[in-house]
């Protein structure tokens, strides 16, 4: 349960960060940023995928991971871990793009990357613990079979 709460919290923070970037993209509001890199990155040609803001994709990803944390069970754990892996790898690609192609770093993007990186071990730990949680149910099944039957 604690893992699910941790995952939900981190995913919620990620949704807040990417939600803000998405809002700025669509409203044209000034982006609050400690450096000039945010504007440069957010206005680059890598900030959209065929017209869809990357920030929006990030928001959807974090919301999906948050959703898996709200659902119990090994399938939800696997889905959360899979989504976290996608987010981690794609964030890595975007970080390389910032360094190599855009030559600027967006502070908000790095914050989102850090949250994504944190989600990966959390979701994987959940998968492992959901596997351990599933094992006792099997053992209790064997136990009931091993229980002495009452003879009529």
């Amino acid at each position: 349960m604690r893992l699910r709460i941790a995952i939900a919290t981190v995913a919620g923070l990620g949704a807040a960060v990417t939600g803000y970037l998405t809002l700025v993209h669509y409203t044209g509001a000034r982006l609050v940023c400690p450096t000039s890199g945010c504007e440069v990155v957010q206005r680059s040609r890598y900030a959209e995928l065929f017209g869809v803001p990357v920030a929006l994709l990030g928001l959807l990803g974090f919301v999906a991971i948050l959703g898996t944390a709200l659902v119990s069970g090994p399938e939800a754990a696997q889905a959360g871990a899979g989504l976290a892996l996608v987010a981690f790898l794609f964030s890595g690609y975007l970080l390389v793009v910032q360094l190599v192609a855009i030559h600027a770093i967006c502070t908000w993007c790095v914050t989102s990357d850090a949250l994504t990186t944190l989600l990966l071990p959390l979701t994987w730990l959940r998968v492992r613990s959901s596997g351990r949680d599933a094992a006792p149910a099997a053992r209790s099944g064997r136990g009931s079979l091993a229980a002495p039957r009452l003879l009529p």
Partner: protein, 234 residues
């Protein structure tokens, strides 16, 4: 069926495929944005509607036979210049430039910072393709916070490509000494005329001394029209 325990191979494989699709889409989208078939940048449609059909050459917009030339000293990063161009300039274009009465010449200043220099050089380079005024309009639409790095090469290339020009040649021209000389000349003229703020409009009627317009008048449509009519009547 998903198995509990370590991340299942199937889920990991799906994740890798999804990432591959996203990365490929990102690279294709970025390449498309930098090519000549880029989707139009913000403001392109408005710029085209305003300026299409009006002769344009280098820094000048309008008929070379126009009696009055208005020189606009402006910095692409200047928010007042943006306001004037987007809010007040269209009326001048419709009433005076399109009718052949007035010709406008852009004098690029770059005093605010590095973004100003990059943007100014790029608009001058676009002037070689007779698209300076469209690019000025588009860049004002996309204007970001001063010296925030908003006028990056990527943004400028995208804006140029959105006008149907090839970004690479315009970029190359923007970096030449000849383009730098245009900025130097504009600054020298601004210094000579005592231009101390932007936007500053200078009226030049053939055969007469240049006249600098009160900046407040530039933002008052009635006053500006009256000043133009008076200059045309001289």
């Amino acid at each position: 069926m998903l198995r509990s325990g370590p991340l299942s191979v199937r889920v990991a494989a799906i994740a890798v495929v999804v990432v591959a699709v996203l990365v490929t889409a990102s690279l294709l989208s970025a390449r498309r944005s930098s090519g000549s078939s880029a989707s139009p940048a913000a403001g392109v449609a408005d710029a085209r509607a305003l300026l299409d059909g009006i002769p344009q050459k280098g820094l000048a917009l309008g008929s070379p036979k126009a009696r009055l030339t208005i020189e606009e000293f402006a910095d692409i990063q200047c928010p007042y210049c943006k306001r004037w161009t987007l809010d007040h300039f269209p009326a001048i274009v419709s009433s005076y430039v399109r009718t052949g009465k007035v010709r406008v010449v852009f004098r690029p200043l770059a005093f605010i910072g590095a973004d100003s220099k990059r943007a100014a050089r790029t608009v001058v380079a676009a002037g070689r393709e007779n698209r300076l005024w469209q690019l000025v309009d588009v860049l004002y639409e996309q204007q970001g916070a001063e010296n925030s790095g908003w006028a990056s090469q990527d943004v400028l290339d995208s804006a140029v490509a959105g006008l149907g020009l090839e970004a690479a040649p315009v970029r190359a021209v923007s970096r030449t000494a000849a383009t730098g000389a245009v900025l130097t000349a504009a600054q020298a003229e601004a210094d000579r005329l005592g231009v101390s703020s932007t936007p500053t409009l200078v009226f030049r009627v053939r055969g007469e001394a240049p006249m600098t317009i009160d900046p407040n008048a530039a933002f008052d449509p009635a006053e500006l029209s009256a000043a133009i009519d008076a200059a045309l009547a001289r």
